[in-house]
Symmetry: C2
Subunit: 402 residues, 2 copies
């Protein structure tokens, strides 16, 4: 395995660990901010480093369209292109292509689709999506899957799952044959600068990317189990649970995660894709999930929705026009340390870019700090108390949160 | 005088000095970034502090509309509202109201105008504009003037100038009667935190804002001279040259500055409003101007136009798609130290907010660093050599720049 993963403490089903990638260590459970187009919207690498983000995501589909994955390869890969020296993960493009609805056509070979930008005809297959991800050179890359639509009956979900399994094999075969072509393997021996200005060695030439498989199966627990077992049989560096956050109720999301986790190897990282609200990421980490990602903290920030230890704040609300308090009195982020709700409300309502920038910093800080506190609680063996306290402060009842 | 100004070196007509305001010292000649709505668009206070911006501008007209100047007063004044503990300057709103064209009506009393936002009928006079600026509480505030349109014949320019002189007297009278009402005088005795976390005393209760007069006179040198002399007769803490950057050729701008400067007291700060390109701010500083402001570096940044030591870079140009160099190899800003033209071009062409953020940092760094180098050159007595070198690197001939 090119990715090492060490579990260093457990509390119930939850665990803390370290994911050791060619571009640095990641403490798990981890929430990964999403940088769709090689930028976490509204924030800079410097800010992400200050927030202690250890891994971020980028989207293969979007980078395939602009600036082009081969262009990124020529420029030394995604780390160098975006000047991010820490760990990166790319999705395979499967989920984005799935979102195109009317613009896509799926067959055994792959997906024909039209660019959402200019309507150009394009095609992604397990082989080309894997090739694109090798060109980008993220530390963790994903098998190309079909994200089953919601709702899907058992027949449809099985057919989709079976194809995802065949695609998983093809993704792995392509990866094994081409994993030495990752751009940063060419760099070995030269020195790079990290953000702190300290010089360090690039990833050793012996390291490659890690490939994760994706479990599908719609909202059918028995298919989830089978998908997990047969994906594990193919053998990957880590396992993701896909096909969630597609419109299903939150109880179903939780049920599918519960149906899948016991069938994934305990010593490999387990990643739930595309979740969630703060109370969800806490809950899933408690269930034993190691990795999560979502556009929610950054997207909500741009729309003035802020997450706090005491619930959600809609900063455009007129009630905040003269509020001299911080977004969250319990938050230690740079925004809460300096700016008032009144000022943030002014920035939002006048459309000043700074409003989106500051909101984004706060929301990311809230998410990353929440996961840091989850890890601390697991290490101290008091995760259940932490989860209860976290939910109580949000004034959430199990009913309200489902 | 509530504002002290010390000249500490001279080179030809140029001089370096220190403007000592209730919120800190400002080294002159200075370029002041513009924070129209209490935010320098695309950047945070933290970034401005890192760039060593010592004074920034805000626009009374815009803050009068949103969130309202009385609202800012209630929230402790503009410094506290926007969490900026360094010096601030507000314009009087005269220039913005002037830009409204069809929406304004000027008479002796003041200007009736309609809000550009919702068409509401509003009125600004020397008294109300001064009152609004006292409510905002900037360290330096401006007399309410009529910005004469371009072109204006000598008759029209004289009538406009005469009214500006009468308005200057009224602005000063209102200021003298109400200057003790500035919000931060209420704070004296309590401690505030500055950005570095060090505790410091708020401005002493004995300090007030400083009021600057504005010279008008259209493009008529004899009127500029008369306006300067009669404005000085009224007596202000500093003097601005207004009514420029209104569509006139650059040679006329320069000629008006030349016609005005000799008639302003040498021991008071001299401020040219609303200029300019990098080569202009260098030139005007060499002529003896102490203060300048312009939206150009921030606005151009948002449109992908970058200023460098070797001329302008239009980052959207396809030629930069694979360019791994920094924006400006001679720039020491955080953006040039980390990001490539290829990445910045990608961010710009995909509409990522980070493109605007990073472009803004670079352009502001270029402007502020240029003025720092101007000050160094004046202190070393080699300003002429600096100016020649600066222009040569831009490949500017006197003809091309006029």
């Amino acid at each position: 395995m090119s990715l090492s993963f060490h579990i260093d403490s457990r509390d119930g089903s939850a665990r803390t660990g370290k994911l050791i990638t060619p571009h640095g260590e990641v403490e798990t459970p981890v929430f990964m901010p999403v940088g769709t187009l090689a930028s976490v919207k509204g924030t800079s690498n410097e800010t992400l480093e200050q927030l202690n983000a250890q891994i971020i995501l980028a989207n293969t589909y979007h980078l395939y369209l602009r600036p082009g994955t081969e262009q990124v390869r020529k420029l030394g890969g995604l780390h160098r292109f975006m000047s991010w020296e820490r760990a990166l993960l790319t999705d395979s493009g499967g989920f984005q292509v799935f979102s195109l609805n009317d613009l896509r056509k799926v067959n055994e070979e792959g997906v024909s689709f039209r660019s959402h930008l200019d309507g150009a005809s394009l095609f992604l297959s397990p082989e080309s999506a894997t090739e694109a991800q090798i060109a980008l050179g993220a530390d963790v890359i994903m098998a190309f899957d079909e994200c089953t639509e919601y709702p899907a009956d058992a027949d449809r979900a099985r057919r989709s799952m079976e194809m995802t399994l065949r695609w998983a094999k093809r993704s792995k075969e392509h990866f094994e044959a081409h994993k030495n072509e990752v751009p940063w393997r060419q760099e070995a021996g030269s020195r790079t600068q990290d953000a702190g200005g300290t010089s360090r060695l690039p990833p050793p030439a012996s390291r490659t990317q890690a490939l994760f498989g994706i479990v599908q199966g719609g909202m059918h627990p028995e298919l989830r189990k089978e998908s997990a077992e047969r994906t594990v049989e193919i053998g990957f560096d880590g396992y993701a649970i896909g096909g969630l956050s597609v419109g299903e109720p939150r109880a179903a999301t939780r049920e599918m995660i519960e149906a899948t986790l016991p069938h994934l190897p305990a010593d490999r990282p387990r990643y739930v894709m595309g979740v969630g609200y703060p109370e969800e990421i806490v809950e899933y980490a408690a269930m034993g999930v190691d990795m999560m990602d979502c556009v929610l903290p950054t997207r909500a920030a741009r729309h003035g929705l802020l997450f706090t230890s005491e619930g959600r704040v809609n900063i455009k609300n007129a009630a905040y026009a003269a509020d001299q308090g911080p977004i969250d009195p319990n938050c230690s982020c740079a925004v809460c340390g300096r700016y008032t709700r009144a000022y943030l409300r002014h920035l939002y309502s006048t459309g000043e870019m700074l409003g989106q920038i500051l909101n984004t910093i706060h929301n990311l800080a809230h998410y990353l700090d929440t996961m840091r506190r989850v890890r601390d609680a697991i290490r101290c063996g008091n995760l259940q108390a932490f989860v209860s306290g976290f939910r109580a402060r949000l004034q959430l009842t199990p009913k309200a949160s489902s």
